[in-house]
């Protein structure tokens, strides 16, 4: 059996688990070198991230953002476009959201402000991704290059907007003014008190809905059929009469809209303001989440929760263990990306060989 012929359960379940264990093993060695017990540390991490309900709430809060940014990557990836621009699209999406909230929160109730703010974040994110999509389709500018550039442009633009226009006079923090309560997303602990004081909010439900819609669009619509044809075989898609340029532009706009909506979770759900650099690299983590989840809705949900858990658990770990610095989660995250993304097929030949050996006696 060749590595590329591995059965589905092996590629989508066994290999990611082996990769994840490898990442944890290396992380454990480093923790051991720092003078702490790897097993005890793992226990703290797992407990804080997944077992303790309040910790789980934080994990899901972080995961919400990653689901949106991962969807922005996955959508484009189906057409063969590598959208690196989630970071910028999310940032500019935040601007769309803030414009609605800051102008309306004093006069309108949450039923008006929240849907409009979410829609506007999607619109701004879509517009920011439309431009690279248009340039790719009509001018042949490579999407990877343009989206990276657009991340830098977004950072500079938002720096100007927040620092020069949005900071209220006399405020020290680099952020807009606080939103009024009608611009706050309802938190899930209002219905599930067990979650305690965690910021996980209704945008988590929106993220789950987005995953479902994504799966539906890809599998059951003519548009998704065309998108996948373009990604799998652009020549055949052209032959079939699919407008490749139309698909590229449309898909990039939707990707941008999804990444743009990622802004809503942290800013309307927790910070209640538009902060400088609030994206904090979530756009880039979205790439890792999409790759590790292999574009599959459930895979991406699981890997988003994993990355959320690493942040939450790693933070608590550094609080409890004096030898472990708070940056540890960045380091473990890096290992996970390394093993699950960059070296995802590390064990494929070995697994293929093992399966071959197991199969032989039964067929002979």
């Amino acid at each position: 059996m060749n590595p590329q012929d591995l059965p589905r359960w092996a590629t989508s379940l066994l290999l990611p688990i082996l990769n994840l264990l490898s990442a944890l093993l290396v992380a454990g060695l480093v923790i051991y070198a720092l003078g702490e017990s790897p097993l005890e540390s793992l226990g703290i991490l797992v407990n804080s991230a997944f077992l303790n309900p309040e910790g789980l709430g934080y994990t899901l809060f972080y995961a919400t953002t990653f689901i949106f940014t991962a969807l922005g990557v996955a959508f484009a990836l189906h057409t063969g476009l590598f959208n690196i621009g989630g970071e910028g699209q999310m940032y500019v999406g935040g601007l769309g959201m803030a414009l609605v909230v800051l102008n309306m929160d004093a006069h309108w109730g949450p039923w008006v402000v929240i849907p409009l703010a979410i829609a506007c974040s999607a619109l701004f994110g879509a517009a920011w991704a439309f431009l690279p999509g248009y340039l790719q389709a009509r001018r042949g500018s490579h999407i990877v290059v343009t989206t990276i550039m657009f991340n830098f442009i977004a950072a500079s633009l938002m720096n100007y907007v927040i620092v020069s226009l949005l900071i209220p006079v006399g405020q020290q923090t680099t952020a807009s003014r606080q939103f009024a309560a009608s611009g706050w997303l309802p938190r899930l602990n209002e219905w599930l008190p067990v979650l305690g004081q965690t910021p996980v909010n209704i945008s988590f439900l929106l993220a789950l809905a987005a995953l479902a819609v994504y799966a539906l669009v890809m599998r059951r619509t003519t548009w998704g059929y065309g998108i996948r044809a373009v990604g799998l075989n652009p020549h055949a898609a052209h032959y079939a009469g699919v407008s490749i340029k139309g698909v590229v532009i449309g898909v990039m706009a939707v990707s941008g809209a999804l990444a743009g909506m990622a802004a809503v979770n942290s800013e309307m759900g927790s910070a209640h303001q538009l902060g400088l650099n609030f994206t904090a690299g979530a756009g880039y983590i979205g790439i890792a989440v999409a790759l590790m989840g292999r574009n599959h809705p459930i895979g991406m949900l699981l890997s988003a929760v994993l990355f959320g858990g690493l942040i939450q658990g790693g933070f608590d770990l550094s609080l409890e263990k004096s030898n472990i610095p708070p940056e540890t989660f960045v380091f473990i995250q890096g290992l996970v990306i390394l093993f699950c993304g960059a070296m995802e097929n590390l064990y494929a030949p070995a697994v293929a060989g093992l399966l071959r050996k197991m199969k032989k006696p039964s067929t002979a």
């Binding site: 003519t222 055949a236 052209h238 009469g241 490749i244």
Partner: protein, 525 residues
């Protein structure tokens, strides 16, 4: 002149290659099952069989690409396990692939030396190599200018360079995989002459082909394979085409197929002064004029790469013409005023133009998708398969099941990935899909390329049935045999121009061959 031999004094009568019980399995498919036969030294040995009969797998095992699950290969009576192709080359086996492994911008000499430079400074080895090359060239009547650039050589000459490359490396056993697919009839004759010289000088040649006329024109002995096993072995001198064909497919093929009398209807397609050039300004199509009527098959003959592919693409809406007019059912096709052909094939398709492309894996199918999803490619928005943007999975599956049954696609599983099917079955999916669309004009490129003989017959009958039903058909093929069987009228192209046009009853291989080579014949109206 002494013969170059690698026989190492093997006693006469010992076969140069012997396969002993070779078995090779891919998943559930037995590509080779207990294959045993011998190849005599200094002979031209043919291996024929349908696609998927296991010829290529067997040769890949001989050449060290694959490892046999069991069985062994003997060279000159000695067991010779082939661990990789380097080892095969070292043992004197050389393989000519269908796609040449040459660096276009290198000279012949540079190509031949690539990988066997032999010294850090090239100059001295170049001189020695050039001398040796000229010797080999005259010994085997394989004249090629060592200093010519490969990109400037004709396809036939490039193939000779490939052969020289192997001889230079000391190959004694040459494997040729469908070597004539890219050649004109004249070039084919030249190749055969070279191969006969090789045989007469003691080399052994293994020819893989599906063309029976080549077997009988060239080989001494032929092994017939079917479904991974050897089903027969005959001396060609004492056998007949019909007998070998019957062994191959298990039943006789017909040299002509039943067809209704030629009664063309109204003009469906009219091409006037059609020109096409690429971005560099190179003319790909040059002032084409022809028309196609309902109920006739117009075949475009020519060596591949002379504009036929581009013509089909323009007619199918995949490319815009540079100038000229395309009229379909008395309407101008809606290509005017467009910047590019993006999405245009969908428009043509709704007008009733179906297209089975030449390269079905590149254009006609999405390999990673199921048969069912491929059965609606290009028709995914038809009301039968989708409503308000949502696909109808049940309708799609039912359609695919019907198609699989009607066109005898094997295995008959619409959920199977289309990339796992054999070439013939993939082609049935494409043709079935296009025919099911009930077109007015059907464009078909290389309908039987890489298709086994059993399926060729089925496909030809289908196309004739379409013609009899009054559909206008444009057929592009490089197989003259296919054109002879199918065409009502034949247009020959060379270098993007029409070099001739003739009616089916005037079919003449020599004349068409000359036209394919660019020698214009009187164009009959």
């Amino acid at each position: 002149m002494a013969l170059v031999t690698h026989g190492e004094g093997a006693p006469p009568g010992v076969p140069v290659v012997e396969f002993k019980g070779i078995c090779k399995q891919f998943g559930a498919v037995k590509a080779n099952a207990d294959v045993s036969f011998q190849i005599r030294k200094g002979s031209i040995h043919g291996i024929v069989g349908e696609n998927g009969a296991g010829k290529s797998t067997l040769m890949s095992i001989l050449y060290g690409y694959y490892h046999a699950d069991s069985g062994q290969i003997l060279l000159n009576g000695e067991p010779a396990p082939m661990r990789n192709s380097q080892e095969a080359i070292r043992r004197g086996i050389g393989m000519i692939h269908q796609h040449f492994m040459l660096v276009d911008t290198f000279t012949v000499l540079e190509n031949i030396m690539l990988g066997v430079e032999g010294a850090l400074v090239l100059d001295t080895s170049f001189k020695a190599a050039e001398k040796r090359l000229r010797e080999l060239g005259s010994q085997y009547k394989l004249e090629v200018d060592p200093n010519a650039r490969v990109e400037n050589l004709s396809v036939g000459a490039q193939q000779r360079v490939e052969i020289l490359k192997l001889i230079y490396r000391g190959a004694d056993i040459l494997i040729l995989d469908e070597p004539t697919a890219v050649l004109t009839p004249q070039e084919t004759d030249a190749l055969f002459a070279i191969l006969r010289v090789f045989r007469d000088q003691g080399k052994t040649i293994i020819l893989i082909t599906h063309k029976l006329q080549e077997i009988f024109a060239l080989t001494d002995r032929v092994t017939v394979m079917r479904a991974g096993t050897v089903v027969g072995e005959v001396d060609t001198a004492t056998s007949s085409r019909e007998a070998v064909a019957q062994l191959m497919i298990g039943r006789a093929i017909e040299s002509s197929l039943p067809r209704a009398p030629y009664q063309p209807g109204a003009v469906v397609l009219e091409v006037a002064q059609l020109n096409l050039h690429n971005a560099q300004g190179v003319k790909l199509l040059d002032k084409l004029n022809f028309s196609v009527r309902a109920g006739e098959i117009v075949a475009i003959a020519g060596v591949s790469g002379n504009g036929q592919s581009e013509l089909l693409e323009v007619l199918a809406g995949m490319r815009l013409p540079s100038s000229g007019e395309l009229r379909y059912q008395d309407q101008r096709l809606p290509y005017a005023g467009r910047h590019d052909a993006d999405g245009l094939p969908a428009v043509y398709r709704t007008l009733g133009i179906a297209h089975a492309p030449e390269d079905r894996l590149r254009e006609g199918l999405v390999k990673a998708n199921s048969v069912a999803l491929n059965a609606i490619l290009g028709h995914q928005k038809d009301a039968a398969f989708a409503a308000r943007g949502l696909l109808k999975p049940e309708a799609i599956l039912a359609h695919a099941e019907r198609l699989v049954r009607e066109f005898d696609v094997r295995p008959a599983d619409p959920q199977l990935r289309v990339g796992l099917l054999s070439g013939g079955n993939q082609q049935k999916v494409v043709l079935g899909r296009e025919i099911a669309a009930r077109p007015t004009l059907m464009l078909i490129g290389q309908p039987t390329r890489g298709v086994d003989i059993g399926s060729i017959d089925t496909i030809h009958r289908r196309l004739l049935a379409l013609r009899d039903a009054g559909i206008a058909i444009v057929l592009v093929s490089v197989e003259l045999e296919e054109i002879r069987v199918l065409a009502d009228r034949i247009i020959v192209m060379c270098g993007g121009r029409m070099t001739g046009e003739l009616a089916a009853q005037d079919f003449d291989t020599t004349r068409i061959g000359l036209m394919m080579g660019g020698v214009s014949q009187t164009v009959s109206p």
